[in-house]
Assembly symmetry: C2
Homo-oligomer: 210 residues x 2
DNA sequence: TTCGGATTGTTGACAGCGTCAGCATACGCC
DNA sequence: GGCGTATGCTGACGCTGTCAACAATCCGAA
């Protein structure tokens, strides 16, 4: 059985594809997280889903925490890309601001477990510098959004960095309160459509030319 | 040893104090959470800190999840009270709005682990209705804040419930991004003082009479 | 007063978890 | 051909949440 496994791995090992197990392990962790929540991400389950044993991930990651950090890094990169592509699709500055905000929230709602992995709890130890870089790039996307909106007089002329932080906090708050089920009926109505309305409420209230 | 334990328990058992172990267990979970983070909240550690055995909590809570739910309930109640007392201390409407917001953020920063327990991740199963009630009361405090501010023309005249949700999301976003260490140097400056400044930025931008 | 159920606490045990040590195999270079 | 390195596997350890079985206490009814 050991030999057959190795033969199978040999077949998968194409020359352009280095570290296929690392990729498989990461993909397995990704899938388990999204389908079963954080409790489903077990090294044993990850190994099984990736077709390897329970401790094979240790050859590619320094432990469970580092494996989850790699998942978080990819999530953060994807989130930044989601903001930019959503904003780029719009034509007018007003639509661009709205689309960027919706891109952020949509990504969070479509990847709830990944989003909560990144933003839900305090980091356990020292964070991978690459995560900081990815977070900086994501924040830069928000800064660009705010900058363009200020140029079009859609947001007040306050320091762009602070205003971007405020907007980020607002988007994060809306997304996370929704994901943790703290926004529901009598308090506010459920669903993504309603969340977009709340974004509009906030942006309209911020617009200097009310 | 068993008998001496029981004698000690008898001494502690004053007539007006029902369920002292339940209280001790809850307090132990509270302390362990705040000092050691979520990983330190072990039923064995909770039992030891409360002076009982590892499975004594099962007589008062249906399992670890329900114990943490009780901690979350108390946290949510305290948070609502913190908002109200902070707001009540202020004199002018403008100061009252600012004080309420700062009360929210200060409570979150002073009880980071408790705050993240409540708002950090999606609830595992069905939530205790008492938690919903406490969350409703906390939200009502924010609604009152917004209502009074609108009466003083400090916030635009949008539907109070939606505006309160937006403000809640903003406060939650600022607090949580700070707690999860996502706000730091080049992005924005660290510390509670800076966070209060960001609240002022947002409120000033929302103020119709800029 | 006595007795029996209900309440509350204890220990023993079990499966599942992350993690490491030790061993086996395959690859790539000399 | 031979060997170091990389990669994978199993066994084992301590820790966790949880439950079953047992003991002690309290309280209301006879």
């Amino acid at each position: 059985m050991t030999m057959s496994t190795h033969v199978a791995r040999l077949v998968l090992m194409s020359p352009r594809n280095p570290e296929p197990t690392r990729t498989a392990v990461l993909a397995a962790a990704d899938g388990l997280l999204e389908t079963g929540g954080p409790d489903a991400v077990t090294l044993r389950a990850v190994g099984a889903a990736a077709g390897v044993s329970r401790s094979a991930p240790y050859r590619h990651f320094d432990g469970k925490a580092e494996l989850l950090e790699a998942v978080a890094l990819r999530t953060l990169t994807d989130l930044g890309a989601a903001i930019r592509t959503a904003g780029a699709a719009a034509t007018t500055p007003r639509e661009r601001l709205r689309a960027g905000c919706r891109g952020y929230i949509d990504y969070a709602l479509q990847h709830p477990q990944h989003y909560l992995l990144v933003f839900g709890s305090a980091p356990l130890g020292v964070v991978d510098p690459a995560i900081d870089v990815a977070a900086d790039e994501g924040f830069a996307a928000v800064v660009d959004l705010v900058d363009a909106a200020q140029s079009a007089s859609l947001l007040p002329a306050q320091p762009v960095c602070e205003l971007a932080t405020v907007l980020w906090a607002l988007l994060h708050g809306l997304a996370q309160l929704q994901l943790t089920r703290h926004l529901h009926e009598p308090r506010t109505v459920d669903g993504a459509t309603r969340l977009d309305d709340l974004v509009d409420v906030a942006l309209a209230a911020w617009s200097p030319i009310a």
